[in-house]
Chain length 210, copies 4
């Protein structure tokens, strides 16, 4: 655990059932307020109110507002990373095309499951300390991708880490556009296939001629 992590986690472990419920409610409330009001107006009081508790209680679980926001972001990204990791594990030993397809769909599915939540958290990711959390999530996913790529049946990669990094980041951009509702007509439906094309093409282009 880095020192950063210590401020991210709830102040005390939710050993009691009540605590777990409260923490869950606070997380959900944070996202709702974030969606409805935006980051600046996502205040501790408002979150507590929406969660059905008091500010005092909020501070029982989080040392400050930033910690709450970071925790929510982290949980969100962990969910995405979990999905990608699982997909990568399941694709070990397959061909590159299959890998691309599964990874893309895992990522896309997780991200679009709660599109509003994903969208709302972009601003949190830009806050002080947000980048590190995003980076941690990416590290997990890149590691999973790299490990998967190394096991590809039909390709060999000199630097699977690098290829994974680029591939992941490349997919991220188009997804963001769609999430923000700024995509040109038609993109929304074609996003999945198009991303598969994108990733497959890149992976193949990056593989060693063998």
């Amino acid at each position: 655990m880095t020192p950063v992590a210590s401020t991210l986690k709830p102040r005390k472990l939710p050993v009691q059932a009540r605590s777990a419920v409260t923490v869950g409610a606070l997380h959900a409330a944070t996202i709702q307020v974030l969606v409805r009001e935006g980051l600046k107006r996502c205040t501790t009081t408002r979150v507590a109110e929406r969660a059905g508790t008091s500010v005092g209680s909020l501070y029982q679980y989080y040392p400050n507002r930033d910690a709450l926001l970071r925790a929510v972001l982290e949980q969100h990204l962990d969910g995405i990373a979990d999905a990608v990791e699982a997909a990568c594990r399941a694709s070990r030993g397959r061909g590159v095309a299959e890998m691309a397809e599964m990874a893309v769909h895992a990522y896309l599915g997780a991200k679009l499951r709660d599109a509003e939540e994903s969208r709302a958290l972009y601003s949190v990711a830009e806050e002080r300390g947000g980048a590190e959390i995003v980076a941690r999530g990416r590290v997990r996913m890149v590691a999973a991708l790299a490990e998967m790529l190394s096991s590809a049946a039909d390709a060999r990669f000199d630097d699977p880490e690098l290829v994974g990094t680029i591939a992941l980041a490349a997919v991220l951009g188009p997804v963001q556009i769609v999430l923000k509702g700024l995509a040109p007509a038609g993109l929304n439906e074609k996003l999945g296939p198009e991303l598969v094309v994108l990733m497959t093409a890149y992976l193949k282009a990056s593989a060693n001629a063998s």
Copy 2:
């Protein structure tokens, strides 16, 4: 054009020479404060102070803090779009590989020229109204890319608009990682070539077999 646009532009046109200086200083100061202090601490007072003027003067030219921020963002993105447009114009009629190379380098060069500025403005883009400005910039670039792709000597695209959108967004992701300084060792140097590989591969994969 849009109602948003009207609030982006300075409130009054500088009639006297002093004004132009003040406006310029405010732009520069905004970026500096953004870089050094972050979006939240980028207050009107601080910007005015760094610019060597008073808050009053700031409000003489911008109706509110958001308008200032948006104006700075818009100017930045216009610069990027200019560079990409020029590159696209220059690449008309070339082959797809050349196109990818020129477009990537134009974008990358413009973005990395003031890396700190680019980095700082990501948070502004997440603010209320920021997305529209980003979208406007993207529209310009996508149009330029689409037009360029349509003129490719060695490929034909069914939907150059869509391909341009995806290609641009795909390039954006890796650049962002590098800008934020979160790239794994070695990526920084290989970014350019890698992006060319990425874009070329995608363009070729998207082109009609002809």
Copy 3:
């Protein structure tokens, strides 16, 4: 009732005992500051300071400065209206002269009880939204007067509403002069009797010859 009314009332109902004290202190402080400093210098900070609290607390109970001012005005006018209503009820069935006397004294008594407060609130009545509150108070008093007049033992009125309106407004003018301390020497003492003469004369002149 009206949408205005909703912003007049304290934001939250005092759950704890402290709250009631704070709200009361704010009311009193507002009037004091209004009297001592005038409307323009009656700032939220000054009111809070005089009340022995903080601006934050003020805003806990009133959504904005105007709401505070209006609430104070409303409370003041409600007190006046209460007095007039009571007098009117008590005078039902009497003769017109008696009615005039009782109504005038009720109004005058209530208004002069806190002359400074009355004086200070004239400016508030001119603020945005003040007129409506004054109007509401007047409506109450006119209704009471009209009802009283309709029960007069020695006169009959075609339009008691109209007569009440004029009578009330006519009395208001001279009172205002005295409250503002701008009356010529001697008026202060003779105000009561003179207003009775005024109102009695008008009522009799407006009554149907019967």
Copy 4:
């Protein structure tokens, strides 16, 4: 001239034609802004702009904002007083009923000629220093009324000054209600006659039995 008066008058006399025009434009603009924006938003810049000049020029003629507002108020009230004085002069030696009628109509006519202006200036009259100006206007009118009353053919008054003061103030109230548009239906049309009834009744009641 009292010291107060010196700050009320334009800083320099409009000896030149241009000055007179500017001062006139400033007065008119002040009233317009007052009507459209209210007292608080009636700023020197806005007034100058509406008048077609610059703030700098405004300060050429008025030492400060308050002086401008007071000058406008004074001019307005002088107009009213002129009208009442003329009517009083014209009514010398008539009967009390005629006097009431002429005075009321003179006052009413002057006040309603520019109803918006009258309405807008109520707030100015409540500002620091406004009361004195209002009082000066009243003094003029009361003097005229008193002199008129003293010449009545059919009545004698012990204290014409007092009677004039009350009569004037009594008329003022109902007029204010109508000006503010808060009068109950029907009052607007009947205002004149009703005020004549009011004033006549009061004058007769105040006259010595002779």
